[in-house]
Each structure stands twice: as structure tokens, then as C-alpha cells.
Symmetry: C2
Subunit: 565 residues, 2 copies
Amino acid sequence: MRRYALGLDYGTNSCRSVVVDLRDGTELATCVCDYPGGEAGILLDPQDPNLARQDPRDYLDGTVTIVTQVLRKAKKADRAFRPENIVGIGVDTTGSTPLPVDANGTPLGLLPKFRRNLNAMAWLWKDHTGHAEAAEITETARKLRPRYLAKYGGTYSSEWFWSKVLHCRRVAPEVFDAAASFVEHCDYMPALLAGDTRPDRLARGICSAGHKAMYCEEWGGLPDKKFLAALDPALAGLRDRLYAKAWSADHLAGRLCVAWARKLGLKPGIAIATGAFDAHMGAVGAGIREGVLVKILGTSTCDMMVRRNNRELADIPGVCGIVDGSILPGYFGIEAGQSAVGDIFLWFVNHLVPESYGRTQAAKFVNLAKAAAAQKPGGHGLLALDWNNGNRTILVDVRLSGLLLGQTLHTEAHEVYRALIEATAFGALTIVKRIEEYGVPVKEIVNCGGLAAKNPLLMQIYADVTGRPMKVSRSDQTCALGAALFGAVAAGKNAGGFANVAEAQAALCGVRGTVYRPAPSAHKAYGELYGLYRQLHDAFGTREWSGRLNRVMKELIALRERQRG
Amino acid sequence: MRRYALGLDYGTNSCRSVVVDLRDGTELATCVCDYPGGEAGILLDPQDPNLARQDPRDYLDGTVTIVTQVLRKAKKADRAFRPENIVGIGVDTTGSTPLPVDANGTPLGLLPKFRRNLNAMAWLWKDHTGHAEAAEITETARKLRPRYLAKYGGTYSSEWFWSKVLHCRRVAPEVFDAAASFVEHCDYMPALLAGDTRPDRLARGICSAGHKAMYCEEWGGLPDKKFLAALDPALAGLRDRLYAKAWSADHLAGRLCVAWARKLGLKPGIAIATGAFDAHMGAVGAGIREGVLVKILGTSTCDMMVRRNNRELADIPGVCGIVDGSILPGYFGIEAGQSAVGDIFLWFVNHLVPESYGRTQAAKFVNLAKAAAAQKPGGHGLLALDWNNGNRTILVDVRLSGLLLGQTLHTEAHEVYRALIEATAFGALTIVKRIEEYGVPVKEIVNCGGLAAKNPLLMQIYADVTGRPMKVSRSDQTCALGAALFGAVAAGKNAGGFANVAEAQAALCGVRGTVYRPAPSAHKAYGELYGLYRQLHDAFGTREWSGRLNRVMKELIALRERQRG
């Protein structure tokens, strides 16, 4: 009898599902549901570009949609498919995306009293309203608990748990006081499906706890009360209402409850894996192992590596987090990333590309790519910084912004588009260099996510800029596949799943035949451009810099002329 | 009997004419003719963004169009108007825009042999192909003749005469060798109308000679042969085929010949003034006098001042030129300017503004301005440099380029538009500061040109940024009015014209009732932004800079937040 697992992946603008055949990883069916709330699923505040929230209602409705529809599609795709042969469910979400919840675990944003209060909603990963609090946490930790920062690249981010919770306490005490606890989206969803969302009962994942909430077994879990009280006594009080233990994603979080089984058309009792972030499960779905960098290329980017936890691993300055077990059990998970990649292209196409490139967003992307692909590296004379949403790695500074340089009176939109892709490639290279400098060799790069599958120009530029082949994960839904994989591992071998993650990866994961290989001449030109990028990067992004910038534009023009011959 | 003068103004994309009533400056009629050649009148080379040429054919055809049509319009406007009552013609053009000509003064570009040779055409002011030659001339002058550079702000520009001629010699020896001489467009047009374009006969203007060809009576006219030979022996040879004397624009260049009188529908013998550049005649048309800065705001910008030539005047570093008699006889003419102002907005609207702002260029401008006007200074969080076409004053460096900084994922086109206007305002303020630092007080600012008349948002931003009231010249065609004014002065009082320029200005010039006054709160915010602009300006544009740039973005964001409250 065939066995399947169901993967559920909750992203920034939509959620999606996949049914995976556990024999060989075949994806029987997938389904995507765009969140109806706000702008493309994000609740915004026109007065404050830092604010980004999500409506928990969209999570609930979205789940019903993507599961019922994917089951229908799976049946159509294969008449032999039976929902009762699904042995495990895994869930991944964005993060840190904490929700304030009541004692039952109900998100406050769902209660009538708070239904119109943005601060009672899910605080989406890219919400930066807590930037002042992030600076305060960094400062306090530097003074009182420097070790808390060492695994976070030296700086605590406004995207992370405590910045958000502390900001909530400051600007919305009515929400903070009403919250029995705060629960990460990735922990909430498995508990919801298991029928018990009580915050003192539900399984918290090591991924969110370790990467975002300074949880570490070494120092006894979450940050100690004295430290938290130094920030705000209310945080010390909250610590008791959070958790003492966090689990890796192969841990069984619970089993599908009757109520949700009925809603979804599944049988009750299916194993549900502990939740983790999309990037972490995506990395597993892409086949991560030692020496392999998995890049998840979406609206933002995550760069994931693992290192066996009995080997020496230095702290890596500017790298977001190093957490034991956050990706694979038994391995340190290393997470780096870029705060915006696909988001920069979407911004540009939606706001600054005229209809001469096409009438729809999709047509614009096609024609921009076609025109940009005809250019040689450096031929446009442009240089950009990929900081429209700040810089996550290696500067860990959300209060940076975009920069475009080199415009003439003839610069065209597709040239800017190419420069923006290149900027993200330079950002990617900066991360690879930093990780290698600290003793973790990158032997292979596997890409996944929408951009990897659908943007060959971008993949080629990444190969040319980094000078390394770019492989692409076989699955279009690597995160959801990773979630399904953990569902199957949580179910266990006896129930038709897998004994461990390595066994599951061997069965389910792979890369495509097409590999993007660097062209030597392009790599050489990009070597020059990257030098200029680093000048801007260091000048605008670091405190140490005291050099000269005035050669940048001249060298760009000289290169442009040489490239145009 | 009423008397009139005819002003002819040859711009970057079009030429225009005005018939002026000499009693009070009333403009009886005006006419504009877009040049049909190339892209908006400019011959381009897709391989080289530095190249910008014009077809001399467009000058000839354009002249017939704008004169015959303006006469027809003038007759319609006033039945009492008679073409025979036109007493003088004045001509202004862009510059330095030299044409290679044969011994008869015929532009080589009109000859069948050279008809398809871009190097035989008029080398438009904004052609930057001679940037290497400009650097060479600067270097050679620094070593051999430092005094040649002192009046040019210390750097010889690629926009100027000798850079273009030397570049022509290098890249197109067949054109250089065939050229009996090179004639500035502003000298060519009066000679053409007077029926004798022989280069050894026609009247050369002090304006072009002094500002662009290093002509100075003090050192015996054009640069000496030894200096020119150090650049290229062929330039020393060319010196003999140029001119020994140059004239201010009140000098009679000649009288309308029979052939052109017939073509244009005018009577032969009308006085024709010596030609000068558009900005210089525009300054006079706007009523320039000591203490008044006249800004001519068009595709690029010229900032003009005068200083009586018996008063002390220091060399002003980075100011394009100081030439005795170039604007008003008896006064030093001081010329500064920005290489691109309107051109930057046109570039932006044509290349990077989606149709959501309107379907036509004009509609886009209207809606961008409307949306941008609703923003507070600094509210967009953006900062730009106005260098898309290089920086003429005070850096005198064409090999600089545009910069836009501060983009987020929410930045909209009208915000960028406002940032670009502000960038040009900051550039304008930088010029005012530099001129005042060197002892020439700016007591009043009068604006003219298309942007002054038609862009109230821009005028208000200029007032807010500079903290000074912005007046606007009464005439919509200040340059053409200035040309007509010189026509009337060249004709002389006895022929119904004027005895001198001051008398003519008193009769013909004035400003509008609407004055744009600075708002104190906006001026304060712009004071902060200007500090950041200067950091970028100095970091990217000067060699001396060695400071820190890393605060720029943070301070922009902080200001944005304060402004948004």
C-alpha cells in the first residue's frame, strides 16, 4: 500500500499544500491559496512603512482551502490515492511571526474585542516596528549577557520575537496585558490541527525558539528573568507563560483532532510534526547536508547550512543564528539571509516599470528579463544595493535602505531590473564569503523557491557573480515538501513513514538536470563590480569605513565602455 | 510708428521665435518648431551615451518655419503689425555647439560626402565624447598655462570647444582635415542670415569664444599656438583659421541678405546682432543686473550673474566661466549651471513611470506633481544626486552619474519625482553658496525657462530649499526675448531700436506678480536634507573627502518618521 505525507507551508502572501508520495517524493498535487487580507495578505499601516501584520483568520480559512483542494486534486491525479493513506502532516511558516493568544490559545486578533486592532494580529516576520526595541535588546545584552548575542551575529534584530513582544508591550499594553502568551505561527498551526492550542501545552519548536527568542539549552532555555526584567519587568513575567523546552521538527507535536479531520476530509489521528520555519524545512526538502548551502529564494532569501554538532563551530559575525537542531536533529543549523530579494523585483515592477514592457505584472517580468538578458555584465553602468528592506546578513541592520547609482539620461527600466538582480547576487556572495571565512566550506549550492525555478536570468547571474554552479531543487514547493518530510518522520517507520530525516531525504529529495554554470568572462566583470559593491556596502553599512568613494562612478563608466566595446 | 524686433532661439530639441513690440516688450507672437532629426532633435549613437549631435539641416529648415509662421501669427494678433517695422534680429543658440565648415562656411554635414557622418554634424553642447580630451586639456593647461583655467573654475569641460575639436581630430581626421574652420552655432546663424558665412569674415561672439574656447583679450585672444601644439600640432594650425577678435552681442554682425529676406518674408537690410548663447541672452531678457541671479531652467540649467568689469572679482573655483562682456557689455559675465535638470525629469517620466499616473507624458507630469505636492519635505525618505548628465558646477565633472538612495519596498514614482526635483534644488543651492563664498552677493533670484513658468511645485521647492523668494520672468520665451532685445540694440536708437542694453531692458523686461516664498518649516527640513546631500556630494564628487557615510540613511529614516508624525 502506498503512503503519503501532507506538507503545509504558510508564506508571506499565501499558503500552500502538497501531497507527497513517500516512495520517491513524487508530488501528487499542490494547491496555493492567496491570503485575502490586507495588501497581498499583509496588513499595512500607511503611516508606518515598518508595520506588517497578518490576519490569523487567513491562516484558518487558508488551511481549509489548501487541504480540501489538494485532496481533490490528488484524487484526480491518481485514482489510487486515498486520504486515509496520509501518514503524517508537517507545517512550516514564516517567522518570527508571533501571535498574542488568550489562555485557550485563541489568537487575540480573532476575538471581537481585538478584531480591528493591528497589534492583536500576527506580527509578520518583516514587521520592523520594533527597531528601537531591537537596539535596546542588543545594547542590554551587550552589557549584561554578551553570550546571548554571540549566536546571532552580534546584533538582535527587529524581525525577532523579543523586539516584537517588547514593542507590543510599549505601544499596545491592552494587547500585551490580554495575552496569556505569545505563540509563533509555526507552533500555533500544529497545535490547532491537533485540537489543543493552550499555550502551556503546545509543542514549541527549537527552530523559532533558538533562532528568534534566544532559547538555548546551554543556558537553560529562554533568556533569564533578570535580563528580561532589565528590559521590562513585564517580560520577566511573560517568561513563565512561554515555555521551558523546545523541540526539533522530527518530534511528534500531536495527532489530528476529530474536528479538524472533519473540516479537512482526513482521518483523525494522523501524526503532526513539530512546526518550524519555511526556510528550515525548505532546506531539508532541498536535501541539505554538510557542505551544501541551500538558498531559499522568495520575497526574501534564506541561506541555510548545517554542521554536525560535535564539531567545532565558531560564532560567525553578522550571521543571523546558529542553533543546534533547528534544521536537522544532531546538527547545528546556520541561518543567514537577505531581507528582500523577490520583494525588490516586485516593488520595482509594480511601481516603476511603464506599460511599454507589458500590460500585466507577469508580462513586464518576461520582457524585462528578455531585454536584461541581452546585456553584458556592467553594460548598464549601474550599481545597486539590495537593502530596500534592510540588511539581514552580514550587517544585521534593518535601518538601511536601497541605493541605485550610475543612472544617466538614457537608463532604461530593464537595466535597472538587471542591476537589482545583480545587487541581490552581490548580497548572496557576501554571505557565502562570510560563512567560508569562519571555517564552514560551501562545496555546493542548491537553490529552491519560486525565483530559482522560474527566473533563469537570475540563476545565471548568481552563477556568474559567485563563480559557482547553481543547482535547483527538483521540487517547486521545497518548503512544503520539507514539511511533508517531517510529517513522515514524525509518523515513524512503523506507521509507514521514515525512521529519520536522512532516510527521508534519500527517498524524497533531488535536484534538476539543469545546472547554471558560471561564464568566466562574466565572472571576471562581476569581480570588478563586486569590488565596487563592497565599497558602497562598507561605506554605507559599516561604522569602520573611512575610505574614498569618489572612484566608484568613474570605474563603473570605464567598465561600461569597455563592455560595450 | 511702432517698431519690433525678432528674436530667434535655437535650443536642444527645438527652435523658437518671438516678435517683440519695442514700446513695452509685449510679445506679439511666438512660434516653436521641433527639430525632426534624431531623437527629439538629437542625433544619438546607441553604442555611446556620450554622443549628442544635431543636423544643421534642422537649423535651416527650422528658421524658415519659425520666422514665416511667427510673422503670420503676428499679423493675426495685431492687424497694425507690418514685417517691415522689424528693425533688428537677434539670435541665440545652445553652446558650445561647434560645426565643422568648409571655406564658404557651409557645414560639412550638409555636403553629400559627409551627410551620413555624425562627426560632420553640429557637436551639441551636451556631447561628452571628448571627455578624455577635456582631461588632457586640463592637465596640459595646469602644467603650461594655469591662467587659462582660472576663469573656468579650474577644469576644462568636455562640453566645450577645444575638447570637441580635439576629439574630432582624433576620431574623425577626415572631417577635421576637410574643415576650413569650426564655427559656433550662435555665430553661424547671424552670418547665414547676413548672407556671408565665410569663416574668416563672420563675426564671432565673445560669449562662445570667452566661455568655451579660452578666448581672452588679456592674453591676446585664443590660446597661443605653443599651448595648442602641445595638445596636437593640428590645433595650432587651426588657430589661424579661427578668429583674432570676438564681439559682445550688441555689436552689429551684419544685415539681412536679399536671399534670406525673401525666404523669410522680411525686408532686406535688417540689423542682425552678434550671436550669443541662449542662457546669456536669456539672462538679459530676464532683466539681469548686479546682485540678480538669473536661472534659466530648461533641460539643463544656467545660472547667470554680472559684475561691473572695473570691480574686483576673484576666480570662483568650479564656476564654468567668467568672461568680460559675455552677458552685458562692460560687465563680467559669470556663468554657472547644472548639466541636467528638466532632462532628468523627462528621463524619469519617459522610462520609469507607469501608466497608472497617466497615459501621456503630459498627464504623467500633472499627476506626479499632484501626488508629490502632497508630501512633506523628507517624507519620502529619499535622497538623490542630480548628476545623471554629470556635474557642471561646482565639480566640473561630466563623469559622474545619478544616485538615488533611501528606497524601501513601498517607494512610489511620485516620491522619486519629488526627490529628483529636490536634488536639482540642492544642486542650485550649492551654486548660490559657492558664488557668495567668493564675494558676489546674490540679492535676488529671477527664474525663466519652461520649468519656471510651468512647474509651480519645482519653484516652491527651490524657494524652500534655498530659503529665498523665487521670482519668475514675465516672458515665457526669455531667451528669444533677450535675442530680440539685442537685435534692437544692434539696430541702434536712430533706426527705432535702443541706444544700449540698459535702456532696452528698462523697456522690455519684467517679472510676474506671483513670487514663490520659502516656508520656514520646509526650509528647516531641507536644511537637514541638504546636509546629507552635501555628504553624498562631497563623498562621491570630491577627492578630498574622507568622512563617514554610514549615518546618512539612518538620519533620512529618522527625519521621515518625524515628518510623518
